[in-house]
């Protein structure tokens, strides 16, 4: 069975199936085939899959081709090009869409996130962290929002580094709309990733889901500036739940949530960008282990 049919079978499964998406990621990975899972479900849930299976696969294959012509590449858990780090987290989506070019080196990446309404000090910190990450060969990943995210992305590009945006809508949309230009620029120079169907609008649930993918894509998450209610705080929690380190920029400790959070194992409070790269490099080296 051609690989394209596996991708199409997965699209058909997600379009028609009733199970949570994460469960399909597990089922498909375990079976090593989306067609096998689709066959099983067509048998079990005949009413949901009214059309003959071949027809559904053909329809999904045509959709994938149209997305691809539009510059949106589909990567499923069965594709060798599916982001490696993302495979390591329990709540990975079964597929992501990529605009631009994801490179194997992007696995060496760190997420830099923070408030939309950021202070000059916060923006400066985001820029210097992105510069240091680029200097040490890391890809800078962020959420393409105003404020800290924009500072991290643009600073990475300005010093010739790689940057990847992870968004909470489908790739055809930008939220908020004023981020559209930056989104196009990052798709042109790095990559933009979305786990949602290309037309998906933003929703209350989509942003936390996006934060889980951003954490999963990266080796660590750095929170630069964030209030009690922010999505960045959510991402810090998700990163720890993935077993990935979290860095809090020291100035965050003025917030109660950050002081409480900094006591959790796996959290590092840092004053300098160099500390982040040194710790990430140490924690992710796989040769040996010391007491």
């Amino acid at each position: 069975m051609p690989v394209q049919d596996e991708s199409a079978a997965l699209v058909a499964l997600l379009r028609n199936g009733r199970r949570p998406w994460q469960l399909y990621a597990n089922l498909v990975e375990e079976a090593g085939s989306a067609i096998a899972v689709l066959e099983r479900e067509c048998g079990e849930q005949a009413s949901l899959f009214g059309d003959p299976m071949r027809e559904q696969i053909a329809r999904a294959a045509a959709e994938i081709e149209a997305w691809s012509a539009e510059g949106m590449r589909l990567l499923t858990v069965l594709d060798p090009g599916f982001p490696e780090n993302l495979r390591g987290v329990h709540d990975r989506p079964p597929l992501v869409f990529a605009a631009g070019r994801l490179e194997p080196g992007d696995a060496r990446s760190v997420a830099v996130v923070g408030a939309r309404m950021a202070s000059a000090r916060g923006l400066g910190a985001a820029r210097s962290i992105a510069e240091q990450l680029v200097a040490r060969g890391f890809t800078v990943v962020s959420g393409l929002a105003a404020g800290i995210d924009t500072a991290a992305h643009t600073s990475a590009l300005a010093c010739g580094g790689r940057t990847v945006g992870v968004i909470g809508t489908g790739l055809r949309r930008s939220y908020p709309p004023e981020n559209a230009a930056l989104q196009r620029r990052i798709a042109g120079e790095g990559a933009v990733i979305s786990q949602f169907w290309p037309d998906a609008p933003p929703s209350r649930r989509s942003f936390p889901m996006r934060n889980a993918v951003m954490s999963g894509l990266t080796l660590a998450t750095v929170v630069v500036e964030a209030s009690h209610t922010s999505g960045s705080r959510m991402q810090a929690r998700l990163a720890l739940a993935h077993g990935r380190p979290v860095f809090l920029v020291a100035t965050l400790l003025e917030h109660d949530w950050a002081r409480e959070f900094s006591r959790r194992p796996g959290t590092h409070v840092v004053a300098r960008a160099e500390e982040i790269t040194a710790i990430v490099e140490r924690l992710t080296s796989t040769g040996e282990l010391v007491a």
């Binding site: 994460q22 469960l23 597990n26 990975e29 490696e84 780090n85 495979r87 390591g88 987290v89 329990h90 696995a107 720890l240 739940a241 993935h242 077993g243 990935r244 380190p245 959790r264 194992p265 796996g266 140490r282 924690l283 992710t284 080296s285 796989t286 040769g287 040996e288 282990l289 010391v290 007491a291």
Partner: protein, 246 residues
């Protein structure tokens, strides 16, 4: 090089330490409804002098994903999972190997080995051997591959005395048997039966994750009642008097 304390700190956020109790299986720490043993342990074979799970591994949650992923994935992400699991085993055994030995009626273990894979082909490149035999400080000097998957046709999780073949005879040696996951205990018990046949003395199993489904009966509530983050100073058989085999 990462330190054991740093890597295990990251896992403390989702590891859940089992504790003995009236509604907990006295062999494998599965949750029961007042029965001294769970269904599988009541009806299955018991060849182990102690079974000590480090954590519960809840289906589709992060520890479960790591325990499946270090075998199923390849590349750097799989190697990072391997190193992290080795760190978990290291920190736990450094603190609690004596508790485990006491629960099995002794003071220490002379040999350490791993439960082979149920699948013959997968057993040939089982990364658990690298975890226990190379990466994990407290076990690597005593590690020996004492068992291999035999050619006998035995279903994946089923118990059979023929499932594993001993590599050599043992002369009453005490053996610490390590596995990543305990579900029904079929594999670990089969491994213990084979070790016994080879002449082993005391045998205890330490498993990283005791597999559970959160949706099953009261498991969700029972899991939420257990302490978080994980307490490395305690273990499932902590403070058990010497010789108190379950």
């Amino acid at each position: 090089m990462p330190t054991v304390a740093e890597l295990t700190g990251l896992y403390s956020n989702f590891m859940i330490g089992p504790r003995p109790g009236p509604d907990v299986c006295s062999q494998c720490f599965n949750f029961t409804d007042g029965f001294p043993r769970c269904y599988a342990c009541t009806h299955g074979e018991s060849w182990l002098d102690a079974v000590v799970p480090i954590s519960y591994s809840v289906a589709r949650e992060q520890l479960h994903h790591a325990l499946a992923g270090y075998k199923r994935l390849d590349g750097e992400v799989a190697r990072r999972l391997e190193v992290a699991l080795a760190a978990v085993l290291w920190r736990y055994l450094a603190a609690h190997e004596r508790c485990v030995a006491r629960a099995s009626g002794g003071e220490r273990f002379e040999l350490v080995t791993t439960v082979p894979s149920s699948d013959l082909a997968r057993d040939e490149r089982h990364p658990l051997r690298r975890v226990v035999g190379e990466l994990c400080g407290p076990t690597r000097d005593r590690y020996e591959r004492l068992l291999r998957r035999s050619g006998a046709a035995v279903p994946e999780r089923a118990f059979s005395t023929e499932k594993f073949e001993p590599a050599r005879t043992l002369d009453g040696h005490s053996v610490l048997l390590i596995d990543d996951t305990w579900t029904t205990g079929g594999n670990a018990q089969s491994a213990a039966a084979a070790l016994r046949r080879a002449g082993a003395g005391r045998i205890a199993a330490v498993v990283i994750g005791r597999h559970l489904n959160r949706e099953w009966r009261h498991n969700d509530r029972r899991l939420r009642e257990l302490a978080r983050p994980f307490d490395w100073g305690r273990c499932a058989v902590h403070g058990a008097p010497a010789g108190a085999a379950p």
